[in-house]
């Protein structure tokens, strides 16, 4: 039975009505909207900074190894995340599912209602979209380029 322990960074916003269980570490500037569920059932969950976790998102860690979520991700309404590692700047759109042991790189987009297979390592800059999900392309290098 994992001990209940929350470490919440500064400027993070955790709304009422969120369900949090187990050992959770939330970075600074992260926002948890109401009705989201962070369940560190078997192992701890470490969430980075400046993430947005919207309503009805379920983040579960069913493995004893910690689930590490990077910075600046957006978890849109109703998604379900069970992977082993999530990088930075990803967008997981509404009702998407990240299953099993998959790990997500940086700058990925998992489209609405799409899901990953179990045990995949998704490289950086991947976009999963479409009706028969698992149709993937590489985006051009994502992110913002600054003028020097």
């Amino acid at each position: 039975m994992p001990k209940e322990c929350f470490a919440i960074g500064k400027r993070a916003v955790v709304c009422q009505d969120t369900e949090m269980k187990g050992e959770i570490d939330i970075g600074s500037g992260t926002v948890l909207h109401p009705q989201c569920k962070i369940l560190a059932e078997s192992g701890p969950i470490i969430i980075g900074s400046n993430n947005i976790i919207e309503e009805n998102v379920t983040i579960i860690n069913k493995q004893p190894t910690p689930l590490i979520i990077g910075d600046e991700n957006v978890f849109e309404v109703g998604c379900y995340v069970e992977g082993s590692k999530i990088g930075n700047k990803n967008i997981i759109e509404a009702k998407a599912r990240v299953l099993g042991n998959t790990s997500l790189g940086d700058n990925c987009v998992i489209g609405a209602v799409c899901s990953t297979k179990k045990d995949e390592a998704i490289p950086n800059n991947t976009v999963i979209y479409g009706d028969h999900h698992n149709r993937r392309t590489q985006t051009a290098s994502g992110g913002v380029s600054f003028n020097k």
């Binding site: 009505d17 909207h33 109401p34 009705q35 919207e54 309503e55 009805n56 309404v77 109703g78 759109e93 509404a94 009702k95 489209g111 609405a112 209602v113 479409g130 009706d131």
Partner: protein, 186 residues
């Protein structure tokens, strides 16, 4: 083929003077910023985010819902947002049915609209009057769904046209559902 009478335990719903029936198990954030037209039903596990608003006074109404609407179980209504600009107010018309588990982030929804189950309506979508969105549709952000159309699939595409009588059809359907949604002392 008449729909059956649906009973709900009286203690589970709040009924207002204007005939709105709101489940106590729904999550209504920022209820002072939400307007319900009247005779609207909000079922269990619905989430309405009336607390997502721009700072700085101005609009006081974040979510405006019309009359005879139905928000089925588990639906989520939240206003759309633009980065660096904040959340925009959202307006839903009369006689709108939103199916179970649907996520609605649209900017406006017209009247006489039927949205199926498990739909995802993207940000800033505009759904005009008298439309039908089939089950499991994903409407991409910024889409404009024209009147009298049926959208289906992911991404949502125009599949069929609706006849002009659909206005009377949906009006009768929503009024009928409201009258059959009755409380029972359990």
């Amino acid at each position: 083929m008449e729909p059956p009478i649906v009973y709900y335990p009286r203690s589970e719903y709040i009924e207002t003077d204007t005939g709105n029936k709101v489940s106590r198990k729904s999550v209504i954030c920022g209820s002072q910023n939400i307007i319900l037209g009247g005779k609207t039903i909000i079922q269990t596990d619905c989430v309405i985010r009336g607390d997502l608003r721009r700072t700085g006074g101005g609009h006081a109404v974040v979510v405006a819902i019309g009359r005879y609407c139905l928000l089925a179980k588990g639906s989520i209504i939240r206003p759309p947002y633009k980065t660096y600009k904040g959340y925009y107010p959202m307006k839903i018309g009369d006689h709108v049915t939103i199916g179970e588990g649907s996520i609605v982030e649209a900017a406006t929804i017209g009247s006489f609209v039927h949205i199926g189950k498990n739909c995802v309506i993207g940000r800033f979508a505009i759904i005009k009057d008298c439309c039908r969105i089939e089950d499991n549709t994903v409407i991409p952000p910024n889409t404009v769904v024209p009147s009298f159309s049926i959208y289906e699939g992911s991404p949502g595409m125009f599949v069929d046209e609706l006849p002009e009588c659909v206005q009377d059809l949906y009006e009768a359907k929503t009024k009928d559902y409201y009258s059959k949604f009755q409380s029972k002392d359990s």
